[in-house]
């Protein structure tokens, strides 16, 4: 796949060569190359922790490189900040759209480039220009509406228009499709195709393999901070791409499929039984029970009440109706702490806002759960080291260094640390809300395997995920939610993904009628 220097020099818009970035205790990137050509969609692939985000931040000027060169349009550049990269024509649209939600669409598109007349901003002309930029992308919007009233998909398109206002030659899209539905993805792709035809180089980062094959022309694969290679996509299959990313074959998940059929002994008392548990305006009274050694999946769309139910069981929100029994005895779960004291651990779907403590180390993040219960009495150093080492090894946290700040870890590894925090408290029930969202195939498999293993040893688990395959693979029973209420329960060995989707789509309506 190597190109001669002459060839790359002629059509390369951006050439990053030998990029090395060192964090305290971690070599995030080690001599990585990335070449973007005008008029191509280039996918950047790799597991979590492979160095994708770091490479993007080097390209957009957020991180200074410790070694290596960046050439834009044949001219060597050193970026001292994002402004430098932007003036070189490199624009980024991040996973979490970074626009001003309280400003109008037009103000967001034109921010910093407002049209002026006589020293004052000519708002009419500015909005007209914004509308033109949006139309160029095939988007029709009232530019005076507040940005926050629009969906994430529209906001993303606004962010792209904004990038085009600055006349970007290179557009970096970091996980743009993770919160879009299928038709929104189509709209985004048609915009991307259009920009490609106009000669823009697009760097596309995603975890969705099928999208890569649908839109990308070429891809660069990273693994553990090193370059695996650059490949034209037609030469790859999804299987071979996954193999390049992981460096190993992935048969492990297949082996897990037997988990769902495992027999669960429901003769004793359930670990947790909720009867008519609900909260006004949030979720209708719901029944759910989980037995030792059982994985109960919760299936349902975003906003169906699945997270809300989990939060009631975890004491994160207060239930205003119904009873909750823990191990056969009535329990009052007034706050997360009382739930934890009852052996209920809850890992939130929002890893960054409700999970990790970014400025603390991996070790501190792991022991926090134990420490919170002990109060002031500090865990002895030797005890702490043992716990931390045990879980880092058991869950395969990378880098396996307890003193690294957790914010320097990739999403998948942060998730593993959070899992470690909860497992260290030796819970009876583990509630996992979207534990595999936005993490790569390898980490996903690790986490699923761990869940299967723990439940086989008697841990009760509530498993929530948007990916129905995952829910079906792991759970023995599936609670189906829709419109903030439970619409039924399925035994997972009787159904497949289509049947669950069908159930969500139809059963709920019948029930409501």
């Amino acid at each position: 796949m190597s190109h001669s220097d002459a060839e790359t020099a002629s059509d390369a818009l951006v050439a990053m060569r030998g990029i090395t970035i060192q964090f305290p205790g971690v070599k995030a990137l080690d001599g990585v190359d990335l070449v973007l050509r005008a008029g191509e969609v280039h996918a950047l692939m790799g597991e979590n922790g492979a160095g994708k985000s770091t490479l993007i931040k080097a390209l957009t000027g957020e991180y200074a490189v410790d070694a290596g060169t960046i050439t834009v349009a044949g001219e060597p550049r050193v970026f001292h900040g994002t402004a430098d990269a932007q003036s070189a024509g490199i624009s980024t649209v991040y996973q979490e759209v970074n626009l001003c939600a309280n400003l109008s669409v037009g103000e967001n598109v034109m921010l910093g480039h407002e049209l002026r007349r006589g020293g004052r901003i000519d708002w009419r002309a500015t909005h007209r220009a914004a509308a033109e930029h949006l139309e160029n992308l095939g988007v029709e919007l009232d530019t005076r509406t507040s940005l926050s009233t629009h969906s994430i998909a529209v906001q993303q398109l606004v962010a792209i228009s904004r990038a085009m206002v600055t006349d970007a030659k290179v557009l970096v899209l970091d996980e743009p499709t993770s919160s879009l539905d299928r038709s929104e993805v189509e709209q985004l792709f048609s915009v991307m195709r259009d920009l490609r035809a106009r000669g823009v180089a697009i760097l596309f980062v995603t975890h969705f393999l099928d999208q890569v094959f649908e839109i990308a022309d070429r891809c660069t694969v990273l693994r553990n901070g090193r370059l695996v290679g650059e490949y034209p996509l037609p030469s790859l299959t999804p299987g071979s791409l996954v193999q390049l990313m992981l460096g190993r074959e992935l048969d492990d998940l297949e082996a897990l499929s037997s988990v769902a059929d495992r027999h669960v002994d429901r003769s004793g008392a359930p670990v947790v039984r909720a009867t008519g548990t609900g909260r006004k305006g949030v979720i209708e009274p719901t029944d759910i029970d989980v037995y030792p050694g059982e994985v109960v999946g919760i299936a349902g769309l975003l906003g169906s009440g699945r997270t809300e139910l989990a939060r009631l069981l975890a004491g994160a929100d207060h239930a205003d109706s119904g009873q909750i029994e823990v191990a056969g005895k009535a329990a009052r779960l007034a706050n997360p702490r009382s739930a934890i004291d009852h052996g209920i651990a809850y890992s939130s779907e929002d890893r960054r806002a409700e999970g990790i403590l970014g400025d603390l180390t991996v070790a501190e993040n792991i022991v926090l759960g134990i420490q919170a219960r002990r109060g002031w009495r500090k865990l002895r150093k030797a005890e702490q080291d043992a716990v931390v080492a045990e879980y880092i090894a058991a869950l395969g946290v990378r880098p396996a260094s307890p003193s690294t700040l957790i914010r320097n870890l990739s999403g998948g590894n942060q998730q593993k640390v959070l899992l470690a925090r909860w497992l260290a408290t030796a819970p009876a029930l583990l509630i996992l809300d979207e534990p595999t969202r936005g993490i790569d195939v390898g980490a996903k498999a690790d986490i699923q395997r761990k869940v299967a293993e723990l439940s086989a040893r008697g841990l009760a688990v509530v498993f929530i995920s948007s990916e129905l395959e995952e829910v079906l693979r792991l759970s023995q029973r599936i609670v189906v939610m829709r419109d903030r209420r439970k619409i039924g329960e399925l035994a997972s060995h009787d159904v497949d993904v289509d049947a669950v989707i069908d159930f969500i789509a139809h059963e709920g309506q019948e029930g409501a009628a």
Binding site: N335, P336, R337, L357, L360, E364, Q371, A372, G375, L379
Partner: protein
């Protein structure tokens, strides 16, 4: 060397040493320490002694700031504490009696603790924003102190009381020992128990900490209580130094000095990870800066401007971004000067 430079105390210490150097260069007697009657005298000893009230207040402020809070009421609490202590001593009619002093100091420090508990209640239970909640006591506290002293400046004559701020033990000022003990106790409680880590967790992300089972309310409440308690002690030292309870002047603006000391020590106002050692260096830096002003004979009229200028420089020196900017400045100037004559190149 670079490992030393990356240590979080490196730049705070550089600033402190630079200030001492500045004084020494302008007048070498600054670092001279003389022995007289078995006691040490000199500007540096004065700094150790005079920094004690600020040190106590800054220690409490560190804990409060670590929880994402702020305590503006510390100066007013000092006024309350001083007023309580001196009123009790004055009313007793026996100002040298150790029992009277013990009661006076105990009550005064207790008053500080009550003030801190009140702040903590408003913030951790009622959920009022820290800056507003402590503003209440910042304004009301001096009024309370005036009520206690009956609107007068209470003065007393008590040698044992005077000893606390002005006495010497083993050649060093007693107030310095008070500082040391406070530093040691706070550091031990925070670092030898898990309280420090839990405080940092609450400051970094209150919601994530709550979900992890941390009892954030107690930790935040405790931080304000500690701040009030330490301000109570600071009030004793202050009133002992002037042997008077002046409700209007005691601890005036000390909250700002304390916040500055915490920030100079490398603890972020955004909360989270904190450094006790950093705050200690920060408090010494501010006291040294105050001595510098007297020592260099800066006219009183321009003292605030001088102080502000020094603070700006100090904060800039500690800013990583500013240092990086200065480090690149020569290179930037070179490219700039080489490009400007050729307009075409600059435009490309």
């Amino acid at each position: 060397m670079s490992a030393v430079m990356k240590h979080r105390l490196f730049w705070p210490l550089v600033v402190l040493l630079a200030l001492i150097l500045l004084n020494t260069v302008s007048r070498p007697s600054f670092v001279r320490i003389t022995v007289h009657d078995g006691r040490l005298y000199g500007s540096l000893i004065d700094i150790l002694r005079n920094s004690a009230p600020l040190m106590l207040v800054a220690l409490g402020m560190t804990l409060v700031i670590a929880t994402r809070g702020i305590d503006l009421s510390v100066g007013a609490i000092m006024a309350v504490s001083g007023a309580v202590a001196l009123t009790i001593i004055q009313d007793s009619g026996d100002p040298a009696n150790p029992a009277v002093l013990a009661v006076a100091i105990g009550t005064a420090v207790g008053a500080g603790l009550v003030c801190g508990l009140w702040n903590g209640f408003l913030i951790s239970v009622l959920g009022i924003q820290p800056i507003i909640a402590t503003l209440v006591l910042m304004l009301a506290g001096r009024g309370i102190a005036l009520l206690i002293t009956g609107g007068f400046i209470t003065t007393i004559n008590s040698d044992p009381y005077k000893f606390m701020a002005q006495g010497y033990v083993l050649g060093l000022p007693f107030a310095f020992y008070v500082s040391l003990v406070a530093i040691a106790i706070v550091a031990l409680i925070e670092r030898r128990t898990a309280l420090g880590m839990l405080t940092e967790a609450v400051g970094i992300n209150p919601e994530a900490s709550r979900l992890a089972g941390v009892r954030a309310r107690g930790i935040i409440w405790g931080a304000y209580a500690a701040s009030g308690l330490l301000a109570g002690f600071a009030g004793i030292l202050y009133s002992s130094n002037i042997m008077a309870a002046d409700a209007n002047a005691a601890g005036l603006y000390i909250e700002l000095d304390a916040i500055l000391a915490v920030v100079l020590g490398g603890t972020s106002l955004a909360g989270g990870t904190f450094s006790i050692a950093g705050t200690v260096v920060g408090a010494f830096t501010i006291q040294t800066l105050k001595s510098t002003i007297t020592f260099l004979g800066v006219p009183p009229a321009v003292t605030p401007v001088f102080m502000a200028a020094v603070v700006v420089v100090v904060v800039l020196v500690q800013s990583r971004r500013f240092r990086r900017f200065m480090g690149r400045l020569p290179a930037r100037l070179r490219t700039w000067t080489s490009r400007t004559p050729d307009g075409a190149e600059a435009a490309s």
